[in-house]
Amino acid sequence: MDKNINVLIVDDYRTMLRIIRNLLKQLEFNNVDEAVDGQEALAKLRAGNFGLVISDWNMAPMTGLDLLKEVRADQRLKNMPFIMITAESKTENVVAAKQAGVSNYIVKPFNAETLREKIEKVLVHA
């Protein structure tokens, strides 16, 4: 598992971005960039060279699910590992995310071990 990849974290709560960034740092992922909604994330993904996206769902003007669909529809980004970290915990949300091509799904509140386990899983299969 390459820990030197660029990771993009997307969340409209600045404190959540800071928490995830610090947890990633503990897992030795030090190349981390941030976006506060799907639209900003998509622009960064198209302009940059990322190896993993970790995104919230409930954001405006573009939600995490809509970002995921855009990523999967983009020829260059379509195989990007994409983990959803969200408080959306209805079965319909998980099913919609899976159908849209999510690599893994973490429900908030989550712990560091769950984050490590899911990242490892998606990067090993990437």
Binding site: N22, Q26, W57, D66, A87, E88, E92, P109
Partner: protein, 204 residues
């Protein structure tokens, strides 16, 4: 007024109209028709009384003062928790820097404690989203109260479109992501991480 009920100008007008009809038709009315008109007169009084009671409740105070005050308080809670969470995160980052200066079991324990604090701090996101749902509900109540006040006073009210509908209207332009954005579920309502893992595995 026959029963002493305060009616106001509109109640007076209804009663006067009914009396005028009764007077003009007095010679031509059957007993049944007279009874029907009396019922109409009573109905007019009931409507006027209901309007007077709604006006006396001062429901516009809920719209003009109570709900804006409640939403301001909730916004302040979100701001205060965000500020406090950032303070806690500042302290954690300082502790992590100090951790580099120690080693062995103490360093591991310190790391473990800091990780637990990071995990716990995600409360700010969850509570913020929950409060957002409450604010949305309050705004919907505010819209409906405005409509009730307008209907009772006979004054023009908010346009129907301005009152948040209970269900999404036809021709909903929201994306799938927006439609499914329900926010945090109450304990026992959502699925757990292990259930999500099993659900995802069932697709493979």
């Amino acid at each position: 007024m026959p029963d002493g009920t305060p009616q106001g100008p509109e109640g007076d007008r209804i009663e006067a109209t009914v009396r005028a009809v009764l007077t003009s038709m007095a010679g031509d009315l059957t007993a049944k028709e007279s009874a029907l008109l009396a019922e109409l007169e009573g109905l007019g009084r009931t409507i006027a009384r209901a309007k007077a009671e709604i006006a006396a409740l001062k429901v516009e105070d809920i719209r003009d003062a109570h709900i804006p005050s409640a939403t301001d308080e909730l916004d302040a809670i979100v701001d205060h928790t965000a500020h406090a969470t950032n303070e806690i995160l500042d302290c954690c980052e300082t502790l992590e820097q100090l951790q580099a200066e120690i080693s062995g079991e103490a360093a591991d324990k310190l790391q473990g404690a800091v990780t637990r604090i990071y995990e716990a701090c995600s409360f700010q996101d969850i509570t913020g989203q929950r409060i957002g749902k409450v604010v949305t509900a309050l705004k919907a109540i505010e819209g409906r109260i405005s409509a009730v006040v307008s209907a009772a006073s006979g004054m023009p009210g908010p346009a129907a479109a301005a009152v948040a509908p209970a269900v999404a209207p036809l021709g909903d332009k929201r994306t799938e992501g927006e439609k499914l954005a329900n926010g945090p579920q109450l304990p026992g309502s959502g699925v757990s991480q292990s259930e999500i893992d099993r659900l995802l595995a069932s697709f493979d």
